[in-house]
Amino acid sequence: MILRAARSEHATGWLFVAPAVILIGIFGVIPIGWSLILSFQHNDLLSPPTWVGLDNYKALKDDPVFIDSVKRTIVYTVLFVPLSVGGALVIALALNAPLRLGTFYRTAVFIPVATSTVATGIIFNWLMEPTYGVLNYLLSKVGIGPEGFFQDPDQALYCIVAMTVWGWLGFNVIIYLAALQGVPEELLEAARIDGCGRLATLRHVIWPLLGPATLFLVVWSTINALQVFDEIYVTTHGGPLHATTVIVYYLYQQAFEFFHGGYGAAIAYVLFAATLVISLIQLWYGSRRVHYTS
């Protein structure tokens, strides 16, 4: 009797997870191994692949476009993460207490979250249009410009940073606001009674309590920054003069424009390894400094 019940629990369990196991197996697990195999092949995505060993990785090492794409991705990430996370912290702190027009401010900050990356790109193409764009007009009011923005190789990457920070701030603010809700009123009161000023309260009470949220946002924003693609595809197509060809853009080009599937897979695996190592370092460093209360 007990045995039969136990056996039926095995069967039920497997039945319940079967759809998930099959689908994630096919589209999640198999591609991880296949991608690694691909990276040792020459594969044009159509004809039968040939084995080339480590050739793809060796070629990557000597590919100046790839090396530069890595550098650009690093520059992008180093700018994007602090700006979007730090900016969100400041905004969340300003929004946290009741305020007239509070709902309006929140909506203004959150709206880009619902704006797709493609639409964002098209809007910024227009805002930053060098001849008729409103941004050059506004800048001329303070004596700057006219600028080339996306069409200027020296500016394009920074314009991508500005555009994506606009798009991501709202998400980060939502996470920080939720974390701020979890700061216990008693602690703030205790700090006040002990004569703690506003800045001191922020630094010694609120900031440590926001640790888990900050760690999550830094890790998550870094992962997303290393994979930036959509906005670049829609605005600059990696140009001008490769100025915005980041890793994933180059990966896309190699795989789906030049049909170098094996080479693309090698880029993908380098990106994967880098993402994993960076995330683990962040989590390791964070786990020593962040304290989880509950």
Binding site: G13, P19, S116, I123, I223, D230
Partner: protein, 272 residues
Amino acid sequence: MTRLPFSPRHLFLMPLAALMLLPLYWMVLTSLQTLPDARHFPPHLLPTSITWENYPNAWNAAPFGRFFANSLIVTGSAVLGNLVFCSLAGYAFARLRFFGRDVIFVVLLATLMVPFQVVMIPTFLIVQKLSLADSLTALALPNLVTPFGIFLLRQFFRTLPVELEEAARIDGCSRLGVLWRVVLPLSGPALATLAVVTFLWTWNDFLWPLIVITSTDHNTVQLGLANFQGAHLTNWTLLMAGNVMSLAPMLIVFIVAQRFFVRSIAASGIKG
């Protein structure tokens, strides 16, 4: 010292709100102007004349109705698939003891760490081998169940009191019955979070459709919009009208149900 008649935070938040809203304001404004007006320099910051013609023009220049239908089919399938399959799997992982459970769970969770870009080439090859290239099925299938959803629901189900389920079992309810009649009715917030996040994610997804879809008839809203831009590069009024049409449904839903969206994103962000 005289106090400001309003909180100093307004001095920061007001320009910030202007900065956040400017791109969207400019999009709407341009979509309501004639091309010569929109190309006027210096630009008119307030509308000088209003015309609606860009909207029917954009609607006729590309099959936006089709794009919406496609996006709705793909997104609807993904939301429904996740609700059903992640509930089943999440419940099994939370409550049932079966052979290999922990190993499978760890493997599924591990796939959560692998960015889509890393596996997109073989995923494309798999879709090609299944003869699904350039189909809506290819867009929906990989999104029908996500490790994120399984994890989210498993964690939530584990917080529910197990006594309720045991009582239902003693009364002769099957496992499926327990899930359907006891567990899911108590899981509204978690299911809503999963639905909202899946909806946002699938609706705005761009890279996968870009790779898989070749025919215009199978474009989603995002892919269709990107191709629309490619076809009308400097026709800014037409582009902005298309942009507004593509964004309007999502923005309206978002603004109306803002609290709901925000709570869902916060819940999934912290726990995911």
